[in-house]
Symmetry: C2
Subunit: 387 residues, 2 copies
């Protein structure tokens, strides 16, 4: 186990009907609230009205930034920053999934910064403060509701970049499983893939002596595997929705990754795909991750054997470690396919023409990952496997 520091101050309010606590959670921060949301599904489901009613009841003055994109764009963040400055916003309130929360984080840290918030994404500047941020989560997926990370897409330069800061942690996050009953099946699927991918990035590590972290990872993976099909069969399955929601938060709130050298190469590769083609993040991960696994498993075959045995129940008897490891990877792909996630770029009509450019852009700041350090040609090979 490596040395580490851990601190996560976000207040989680979890359970059916917890939207009713929004007013009392917002009140301490002041009256001017910037409401950030996405495509308008929160209006169709009635969540928008619930939020407005809660904010009205405490006498809040509301301003709105709607239409945040699935891969949230820098231009949208700029709009939010202007709005927040113009109206002396006290609290940013994100109501939606990970994209909405990520955009809200960028707005929160962008408001007090004199330069362009994109500076934080390209490491030109360090975040030193941020407006308070609260969230009402509507999708089990990114874990953004309980961490300080954000991913923003600069559409002009076709770059998708992440930043992280202790000033970007939500002060509070409402996790109401009922709000996830109405998400489209494809979102449930992509969310599940996203959660599992976050675990993979922390689980497939070269760091020795992390038995507790590994078991936590395996527990999250098993919980997602056991619950996603229940939620797909019955979108109002209260138990499955609750388990997926909490699994998503635990997958990326820092706990399972303490003291572990993490990888994140697959995310790096996926970001290059969706920066150009704007495909859903979870779909990109579903395509890339099993191919990454096949490309790297020999770096530490015992971890892939453990994964196959503990997570998928592969029986290792009579198998070589290689056969067991590969069986686990096959089970991963088969599971993704069974729940309806994509396996190839071709399913999005994406061909080979921009793979080299993606591979180059992916390693612009150096090789990707740590489990196996991926150079340009490694990334290209994984992209070719993904066609």
């Amino acid at each position: 186990m490596n040395s580490f520091q851990f601190q996560n101050p976000t207040q989680i309010v979890f359970g059916p009907g917890t939207v009713s606590k929004l007013g009392e959670l917002v009140q301490p921060y002041g009256r001017n609230v910037l409401l950030v949301y996405g495509s308008g599904s929160i209006k169709r489901t009635g969540l928008y009205d619930q939020v407005i009613a809660q904010l009205n009841a405490i006498g809040a003055r509301m301003y709105e930034l709607p239409d945040v994109e699935p891969n949230p764009r820098l231009s949208t963040v700029h709009k939010g920053i202007e709005l927040a400055r113009a109206h002396s916003i006290d609290l940013i309130l994100a109501v939606g999934g990970g994209s909405v929360i990520d955009a809200a984080k960028a707005i929160a840290v962008g408001v007090p910064y004199e330069g362009d918030v994109w500076d934080f994404c390209i490491r030109k500047a360090v975040i030193r403060e941020g407006l308070p941020l609260g969230t009402v989560l509507t999708l089990a997926a990114t874990g953004s509701e309980m961490n300080g990370n954000s991913v923003i897409t600069n559409w002009e330069t076709q770059q998708k970049r992440a930043f992280g800061s202790r000033f970007a942690y939500p002060r509070f996050s409402i996790l109401d499983p009922e709000l996830t009953y109405t998400v489209p099946a494809s979102h449930t699927v992509n969310g599940a893939v996203d959660i599992m991918s976050h675990v993979f990035e922390q689980y497939f590590s070269l760091t020795a002596n992390t038995p507790l972290q590994e078991r936590f990872c395996e527990g999250i993976l098993q919980t997602v595997i056991e619950n996603v099909e229940l939620a797909l069969a019955d979108p109002q399955h209260a138990d499955a929705r609750a388990n997926l929601l909490w699994a998503g938060t635990m997958a990326l709130n820092g706990i399972i990754g303490v003291g572990v050298q993490q990888d994140w190469a697959s995310h790096g590769i996926e970001h290059e795909i969706s920066a150009i083609y704007d495909i859903p993040h979870g779909a990109g991960l579903s395509i890339v991750f099993p191919n990454w696994m096949k490309y790297v498993y020999q770096e530490r075959i015992d971890r892939f054997v453990q994964y196959a045995v503990r997570v998928w129940g592969v029986d290792p008897s009579g198998k070589t470690p290689e056969e067991t490891a590969l069986a686990g990877i096959e089970r991963t792909r088969a599971f993704f396919t069974r729940i309806g996630a994509q396996a190839t770029l071709a399913e999005f009509g994406i061909g080979a023409d921009k793979l080299e450019r993606m591979a180059e852009e992916a390693v612009r700041f150096g090789p990707l990952g740590s489990f196996k350090k991926l150079e340009r040609d490694d990334v290209l090979r994984i992209l070719q496997m993904s066609l």
Copy 2:
């Protein structure tokens, strides 16, 4: 899964040699530091000198409360409160195990309170503020380094009582596995039992649909089981010490118990024993817990079957659920015995004469626990099984 709120703001600094970060962690809180510690073992090991050097380097003014007892006493807490008030203390710094930290917490919340800090233990008053508290942990055991709970013994009334408050969370805790190399074997054993007991109190629950919480619990138990004998055989086993230390923190920082109706009857029973006989907390738990298990397992036999199978690897084939459950309980007792933990009150020379009084005191505020609600006679039966 029940609805829940979760927030844990403690900053963890984990790793070998992290005592060297003490100065920079203390500095933001001010110059006047009250150093709280125990029997003087920190002087023998050189930790005391390291701490003093760190505090000197930042120009801190130090005051000291030594000799905190293994079951920390109210009278000692009173002394600490007086010291802190007399010297306008800015930060309480606990250097030691759970008892020292618990005493420091009581001092921290007692200083700004006009009445007697014991009021918090008997629910006569609510904690509304507290001095900042930092800790340097020397023993994997109580989890007090990352929660807001404290257990104090009032020796005059022979009562051991707990309080919990968000104002009692340490601001920071240094978890340096090397500091645990020198603890006596009995402390390592009692610490391991304590950690496992904390998990039991959250794992044996009637709450339905908590698959992730259960797997986290099982992961901690397995980690302790796999590592404690390594640490006993080689007290400087870096990996085992690191794993035990982190397992202890994760067992009681709130994460594994979210949305779960917890039990805590065994702790209630143990507190009555050690309030009168002043035996080590972990030893008391080692005696009581397997007897509690035998007394209650039929309330939810499937959970005890799961425990036996997943944690102890009991093969359930050809066994009734009852046989499997009992095998898990037997494995627990055998493990405690193998690592050198006590199994009977007789080993401490404790006889039957005060059992009735303990049983009555244990249920003074109502029945104990939730897995099975224990009345006076239930507690008495478990105590008799423990003779």
